[in-house]
């Protein structure tokens, strides 16, 4: 029994070391794709037809093809053209571009759900486009899009496991290495617990955010 506890602890430490990379990739992606999603959403509903079409094409491609394929493309595909990205850069870039595509559509729908009376009131108060968006529309959009953004944030935790295919050592890969060494199911169980812990923290964080923003409802 004592031996088993020791084994679980050692395995956990090994797997947690692997999860450092998972977390790094996670935060880089979140940090860039949320603001990017908002900016691209504004472009997607702009009065310039060209912008609308360009962003529409972008979300069509990146939501319509597997993330795994996109990862292959940035890491192995671009190498053919002499662009050799380090694994982490390739992964981060792919995740940011992919997740921004989903968030763009979430925020676009959020912006379009704001009553047109809000725009009219802003205009009647002589606010310009930038002031209207920043002070009136987007704060309401952020509140409304917390639940779908939370969904994306949870999916992202699990999607990070895909980086195994470009040779990166993340949480899941550490677990798999232990499995290969010991032929025991415990490492997988530990990995599951770590994923669950991470998603629990995320859900808790978004729940807090939702409560904070719900005071005006």
């Amino acid at each position: 029994m004592e031996n088993y506890i020791q084994y679980v602890l050692d395995s956990s430490v090994f797997i947690l070391k692997g999860s450092v990379l998972t977390l790094q990739l996670y935060f880089v992606t979140i940090l860039f794709s949320i603001p990017l999603g908002i900016i691209l959403a504004l472009m997607k509903i702009s009065k310039y037809r060209f912008l609308r079409i360009a962003i529409g094409f972008y979300t069509w491609v990146f939501r319509g093809t597997p993330l795994l394929l996109q990862l292959f493309f940035t890491y192995y595909g671009l190498a053919i053209f002499g662009i050799n990205l380090p694994a982490f850069t390739a992964a981060a870039l792919t995740f940011i571009i992919n997740y921004s595509a989903y968030l763009t559509e979430i925020y676009r729908a959020g912006i379009e759900s704001v009553d047109k009376g809000q725009y009219e009131a802003s205009k009647a108060l002589n606010m310009n486009y930038y002031q209207t968006m920043k002070r009136i529309i987007l704060p309401q959009v952020v509140r409304r899009t917390i639940p779908p953004t939370c969904n994306e944030a949870i999916t992202l935790v699990k999607d990070t496991a895909l980086v195994v295919v470009i040779g990166m050592g993340d949480l899941l890969r550490s677990a798999k290495e232990l499995f290969a060494r010991d032929f025991a199911i415990t490492p997988f169980a530990i990995a599951a617990v770590v994923y669950l812990l991470m998603t629990t923290v995320i859900v808790y964080f978004f729940r807090k955010l939702e409560i904070k923003y719900s005071i005006y409802e």
Partner: protein, 257 residues
């Protein structure tokens, strides 16, 4: 001084003509009430004055400055920046209030003075508190719009519009979406403004209120102004058959309430 002039205004939605050669003027301190059947172009007319709608042709002058000048759907001779400067002289109150739901009552009032006019926050707060007192809502200043009644919302909306220090106030059916018992409190605020000689254009279906507050009544039907008279003339001695039918219908409905 002429606060507002409309000359030969035309506008259509598709084949439906909503403004059909509209002409009138508003003097300083005058209260004009616009009445008429639904779809007669009253709200559209009001919305043309602050640029929420565009006219197809005609000239709009606000305090002797041309705000819009168009011929048959050609490009407006007045550019956007000039329009913006002139539009600052108008405040507007909407049927559905359009308060900012994520901001408190006080924040609703100080928002535009701070971001648009660059007023210092402390000054804006003092000004907003005075305005909220005027509309009788000092005790609600920290409430969010969702926590107050329709009548209170509309009074906040009036304070918010006044916060930009406009010379002319536009009211687009300000009491139409209120419960009957809340209509009075909003009308009282508007009547107070009239006493202070605020220049106002009011679209409403409340005939008793129109009679009380108006210096002149404009009657619109199918995009045309068919009367522009003193209230007494419109209500007690109307000439046009359209007006007679309309007043009869309305007064029957309102006495049935």
């Amino acid at each position: 001084m002429k606060m507002l002039q409309a000359r030969n205004l035309y506008k259509s939605f598709g084949t439906h003509r909503v403004l059909d050669n509209v002409n009138f003027e508003v003097n300083k301190g005058e209260v004009i009430v616009i009445i008429g059947p639904s779809g007669s172009g009253k709200s559209t007319l009001l919305r043309c004055f602050n640029g929420l709608e565009e006219i197809e042709s005609g000239v709009i002058t606000i305090e002797n400055e041309t705000f819009a000048c168009k011929e048959n759907g050609k490009k407006d001779r007045i550019n956007t920046k000039e329009k913006k400067d002139i539009a600052k002289k108008l405040g507007m109150v909407f049927q559905h209030f359009n308060l900012f739901p994520h901001k408190t009552v006080l924040e609703n009032v100080i928002e535009a003075p701070i971001t648009v006019l660059g007023v210092k926050k402390s000054d804006a707060v003092i000004m907003a508190e005075t305005l909220l007192e005027k509309v009788g809502l000092s005790d609600k200043k920290n409430a969010y719009p969702s926590k107050i009644s329709g009548g209170q919302k509309q009074r906040v909306a009036i304070a918010r519009a006044l916060g930009m220090n406009p010379d002319i106030m536009l009211f687009d059916e300000p009491t139409s979406s209120l419960d009957p018992e809340l209509v009075g409190e909003v009308q009282k605020v508007i009547i107070d403004l009239a006493r202070e000689k605020m220049t106002m254009l009011i679209v409403t279906h409340e005939m008793r209120f129109a009679e009380e507050v108006a210096d002149r009544i404009i009657f619109m039907d199918e995009g045309k102004i068919i009367a522009d008279e003193k209230p007494d003339k419109i209500f007690n001695n109307p000439e046009h058959p359209r007006i007679i039918t309309f007043i009869d219908k309305i007064s029957m409905r309102q006495s049935n309430k």
